[in-house]
Amino acid sequence: MRLRLKGGRILDPANGRRGESGDLLIEDGRILPADTPPAATEEVIDVTGKIVMAGAIDIHSHIAGGKVNIARSLMVEEHRSNRLAGAAGLRSGGGLATPSTFTTGYRYAEMGYTAVFEPAMVAANARHAHMEMADTPLLDTGAYVMLGNDELLLDILAEGHGQGAVNDYVAWVIGATRALGVKIVNPGGIYAFKHNRRELGLDDELPRAGLTPRRILRSLAEAVHTLGVPHPLHVHCNELGLPGNIETTLATIAAAEGLPLHLTHVQFHSYGREGDRRFSSAAARLAEAVNTTPSLTVDVGQILFGQTVTASGDTMSQHRNARLADPDKWVCMDIECDGGCGLVPFRYRDRNFVNALQWAIGLELFLLIEDPWRVFLTTDHPNGAPFTSYPHLIRLLMDRSFREEKLATIHPAARAASALGSIRREYTLEEIAIMTRAAPARILGLTDRGHLGAGAVADVVVYTDDTDRERMFGCPDLVMKGGRVVARNGKVTEVVWGDTHVVRPAYDQAIERFVGRHARERLGLSIDHLRLDDAEFARERGRTPIVHDCTPAGGVP
């Protein structure tokens, strides 16, 4: 059955459509060319005057894996106070900052999101992460595997096996864990933490001869690039949250030596050390670096005021933050010598100077980075705020008077220390469409998502144009996933299942001997335990992952 969305104003930046009225034709879950002749029978949905966009894509949101589940058990209060009964095809669930898998899918879909990517999958926990993603309805999912603090990579680097071995190992891990990309968290810092280090700068030596964060970072960035993984190395810099960390962040950009890099939650990495309180905004410097470095993309990790929980692989920074835990309980743990995990409940307060300035720094970054194709809308869910606050964030970006109203209520010293009040920019709808649809699809290498061109998967969202952008983006008229209407007026009406996105770069099989020995000698496991089999998940939902092409790069810039 063919479906015609009739008369909508189509905002599809990837295909240069800027809101002109037109019809969208959908058949078999995909979008047909606009010039397709009318069919004999068409179901028509009249969306005259409405805004039509592709489904939104969140490139960085902690929705699955060990730490998310630990965060759920840590945040018992919100699960007790937010219990959702199952109804009419929907499963029960609960939670706010740490929603259950089903609730995660419902809440995202109700806001018009159709794809969400888990950014911190520990290889040892990959099975768990995929199991949870397979239980998250309505969304396409994928994950970036965390490397850079794992014993094996450090062995390869320290023992001088060469970049080729690093490339093979990275490719093997990506394939074995069904990852879409590679993330590095506090390069070397989690490893160093386990050896009693509490800070680690980019050029500080690890407790392992010859290794520095710079070297690990450079080597991984090169591996990801050489293997042709579409998404550049996803970097959570050293020194998260420390005043003055802007220097490390800028040095990290330089350390890539022109290799493509994605810096994540840069809000937490754009801090200066000026002023009476030795804490200041360095958003302008970071924005300047982004504006002048075309190989660089970032997501912001905006904080918004209220209760949440911070969940990170960065044991070093989470251990430092533990004293701020509210409620006063936290978890920091090692995961199989493979990575770390730190969970600290947090309540961001507008009357707290540091929190208020963090809020302003995030918004400054959004507004000072010029190219919406290279900055993505995230709260680093749940670290800065639950993803359910995206509509509010969009309104802050699109509505200057609303922004200034909020600015007037924050800690006065933070207000005075921020340039936010002098920034006039307001995001346009088109820029929002770029930032939440077209650009994330492009940076992840998803060719048939994030746009409404012929052949694209019919993930479509219809909004009523409303000057209250929070209301508009919080409650789309219609959300379609793969050509099926799954939500109307901000409520899920039907549950379908999304796809899993992976890449499978080629590698020299010889690396398996190396990995196998590590598994056997250090973990007491067979290498087969580490490798996920599609069949394990096919049993769950009857689907196989979508494998995206890797085009190995010719050389290193």
Partner: protein, 269 residues
């Protein structure tokens, strides 16, 4: 005006009745109350299927019949009076902030857990974790009074922050463990590990007690605050008033040193 809900047949599963508070039912007719949906297992059933409704809704609510499978009874209540004529299930009076809940029988685990006000009186025994926090919560009881006329199970008053617990019978292992502050008085015997991990607060025992090794002995004293506690307890319990005669010194053990705590166990030598 008392509304009486009598269990007509003991439910086959646990039944969460936290929605059935006097303040919530006060404005409803008997017919409306009978139609209220309850979750039984994976089914929704109207209240009338499980309870006979009589009397008149108001400040007071009585549960009759076999209530031992009713969980979270009186949970979150802020006012009014609830009487349970039999045993009751888990988390009775959990999180209650005011009003009175009287259980004629015994209560299951976590009775009065995280309560912040009001009076919960259990004529029989209390299960484990009475007046404690629920799993994952930072605090147990933060106010109010919990009276257990019988004995209390393990970990009574765990992580308690404020308020008063009086156990007229015995207390199980780990009484007052991880206590942050508040008062737990026990008239009967107290099992091992009392006060383990406690930060502050008072464990007041009427019988001789061997304090854990993490509680160094701090001498024998006639302390004025015990006189005040006795007079306060006398308002609820003649046995408590008799158990702590004025002028009799009590041994004082301070801890838990394992947690850097400065709480106290007071017991006769």
């Amino acid at each position: 005006m008392t509304l009486v809900l009598t269990v007509t047949a003991r439910p086959p599963h646990r039944l969460d009745v936290s929605a059935l508070l006097p303040e919530r039912l006060a404005g409803l007719t008997a017919a409306e109350i009978e139609r209220l949906p309850l979750t039984l297992g994976h089914r929704r059933v109207p209240l009338g299927e499980l309870f006979a409704v009589s009397g008149e809704p108001g400040e007071s609510l009585t549960f009759g019949g076999a209530c031992d499978r009713l969980d979270r009874l009186g949970a979150g209540m802020t006012a009014g009076r609830i009487l349970v004529e039999s045993d009751v299930g888990a988390e009775a009076g959990c999180g209650m902030a005011g009003g009175t809940l009287l259980v004629r029988g015994s209560a299951g685990p976590s009775a009065g857990a995280e309560m912040s006000g009001g009076l919960l009186e259990i004529a029989g025994d209390a299960g484990s974790w009475a007046g404690a926090g629920r799993p994952g919560s930072v605090h147990g009881m933060t106010g109010g009074t919990l009276l257990v006329r019988g004995s209390a199970g393990e970990r009574v008053g765990d992580r308690m922050k404020r308020g008063l617990i009086l156990v007229e019978g015995d207390a199980g292992p780990g009484a007052g463990s991880r206590m942050i502050a508040g008062t737990l008085a026990v008239l009967g015997g107290v099992a091992a590990f009392a006060g383990i991990g406690m930060h502050r607060g008072t464990l007041l025992f009427a019988r001789q007690h061997e304090a854990p090794a993490t509680f160094p002995f701090a001498g024998s004293h006639d302390l004025v605050h015990v006189r005040l506690l006795r007079r306060h307890l006398a308002g609820f319990s003649a046995a408590a008033a008799a158990a702590f005669p004025d002028g009799r010194p009590l041994g004082r053990w301070v801890g838990c040193t394992g947690a850097g705590g400065r709480g106290e166990i007071l017991a006769p030598l």
